[in-house]
């Protein structure tokens, strides 16, 4: 190599190109292997956790088998264990929270990504012929940034604080509405019990707020990643802002939004403390939003402290089921995401 380059001695114009050194070459390889190693360590860690729980749960699996999943009573004295109500409660509360949280989260993401606030301020300004001084023209933008950070801050609030807030604020707040719905629309299954305090609805509302930052932050990034030229194309064809959002932006960002929702669902399934405080801890399978219920995570949190040696195995079985559900949801999510991201060759 260097032989072909005209020999120049010294001076700023001398070529400084050279072969990569031994260390440069091999640190590259080492770095590659290190990333491999850590990636596989994570996989091993998951497998290890599953194994430990599985081993501890083994006696309970042998004793109770399928009956554990289909059983509906939890009686420590009679040694009767079944977690169907908890599975039901886990899925019901998570799905409910997901519907509420995803709607609000995506709405917030659209609000922020489309700069609704600033455009509103600016169009009002334009209406009154206000000139925008550089000093405060950035104010709406800054306000939007603050709003975004505040929403992300929701994720930093401890679960137990959410639980307390739910007990002292959400339940009293929604109780009159729930009572009204129950007495007037009680014939609809989802309203057919009264809210006696903790229950499915307050738990789901709080859970929805807890997963909102996940949904909105990831959806916002997905929406901001939509190439600006697609917006231009849509507006250029004479689409309104809403037509552009619904027909172009959201579908183009749908992969990211869907990923956000799956991630949030995984969080909701495993959320423990707030639910243990708000869901009522009653082994009930009911469609009613106002009925107390229970979830797998809350069951574990409530029963571990006083569990005898035999009960620990049973609880480990329940933990294994929870783990199975979350892994399954995440895998289905990943699979659908992958399907969605494939180039749509030959599909309608």
């Amino acid at each position: 190599m260097s032989a072909n380059i005209p020999d120049q001695t010294g001076g700023p114009r001398e070529s400084i190109s050279r072969q990569p050194t031994f260390i440069e070459k091999h640190s590259n390889t080492v770095f590659g292997w290190a990333t491999y190693l850590f990636a596989w360590l994570t996989v091993l860690l998951v497998l290890y956790i599953v194994c430990v729980i599985g081993i501890q749960a083994a006696p309970a699996i042998r004793d109770y088998g399928w009956g554990f999943i289909t059983g509906t009573t939890w009686d420590v004295n009679a040694h009767q264990y079944g977690v169907l109500p908890e599975i039901w409660g886990t899925m019901y509360s998570s799905l409910l929270a997901l519907v509420i949280g995803a709607l609000f989260g995506v709405a917030v993401a659209i609000f922020l990504s489309e700069h609704f606030l600033s455009s509103f301020v600016f169009s009002v300004g334009k209406l009154f012929g206000v000139q925008f001084h550089p000093l405060w023209a950035k104010l709406p933008d800054n306000f939007e940034r603050i709003l975004k950070n505040l929403i992300e801050l929701l994720a930093a609030i401890p679960s137990v604080v959410y639980g307390l807030w739910g007990i002292f604020f959400v339940i009293p707040l929604i109780r009159p509405v729930c009572d009204w719905l129950n007495s007037n629309l009680g014939w609809i299954p989802i309203f057919n019990t009264t809210l006696s305090g903790p229950g499915m609805l307050p738990a789901s509302i709080v859970l929805a707020i807890m997963i909102l930052p996940t949904v909105s932050a990831i959806s916002l990034n997905a929406l901001l990643a939509v190439p600006p030229k697609l917006r231009e194309a849509s507006y250029g064809l004479g689409a309104t802002q809403w037509e552009t959002i619904l027909a172009i932006l959201v579908p183009t960002a749908s992969k990211g939004i869907f990923g956000a929702i799956i991630l949030a669902f995984g969080r909701a399934l495993g959320e423990t403390m707030a639910l243990a405080m708000l869901v009522g801890n009653a082994n009930v399978i009911s469609w009613s939003l106002f009925s107390p219920a229970n979830t797998l995570a809350a069951l574990l949190a409530n029963n571990f402290p006083e569990a005898g040696p035999k009960e620990v195995g049973v609880l480990m079985f329940a933990a294994l089921i929870l783990l199975g559900i979350t892994l399954f949801v995440n895998m289905v999510g990943a699979f659908i995401l992958q399907k969605a991201s494939e180039p749509q060759e030959g599909v309608r």
């Binding site: 231009e232 194309a233 064809l237 004479g238 180039p343 749509q344």
Partner: protein
Amino acid sequence: MAQTAKELSSAPKAGNGNRNTNEVVIDCNISELYYGKFKAVRDTRIPIERNKITAFIGPSGCGKSTVLRCLNRMNDLVRGFRFEGHVHFQGKDIYHHSVDPVAVRRYIGMVFQQPNPFAMTIYRNVAFGLKLNGYEGNREERVEQALRDAALWDEVKDKLHTSALSLSGGQQQRLCIARAIATRPEVLLMDEPCSALDPIATRRIEELMLELKDSYTIAIVTHNLQQAQRAADKTGFLYVDTTQGGRTGYLVEYGVTKQVFEDPKEKHTQDYIHGRFS
């Protein structure tokens, strides 16, 4: 709003036989145009004539795109955009407060520098405008016609329902043209439509423009002088004025393409056309 829209389209359609040769479809008169505090364009008056191709040429940054985007109110999307003057489309001021910018863009279509098909099938891309306008008739027929007009039909007729992103750059740009003309707008604005394309795709688009000008009025921005010479009937040369401290673009010369290129009146135009500056 509906009334406005009706007024926007009230003039007789082209191609009905009575072709009025020098009829001005868009009368653009910009006295001052600002992006925030920045004065981007001044003193630019360009009449866009029916069934002609009008080209905007000039060094980059002189405001060609800005002027073009003024003609269908795309600049309204830019925050801080402000403009003094008027743009009349078929005699109606499109910047009048009663006019909806969305309606303007439905009558004055646009093709952009970068091909920008949506991440959906070829068919749905072309049908997008039909859907926006609530077209109830035979959509398949319209889509086919638009693709034929854009000289793309033969290449895509067997894969209408595959993703538009699987097409090549030149095909994507013709798809964008098809998408823009599917609703048969009055005017087609093209902002350097060939700058991302290879020479063969460029020639195809040029041929296409010459075919399209029978039924549409076309305004095109190009940095390719040969392209302007080959395709345009009228040419406007914009140049950027740095004497007053800023970088404000303005129209130096406008006229029949042949005259602008062979016998330019202004010194700046001569210099530019003979490549004495860029």
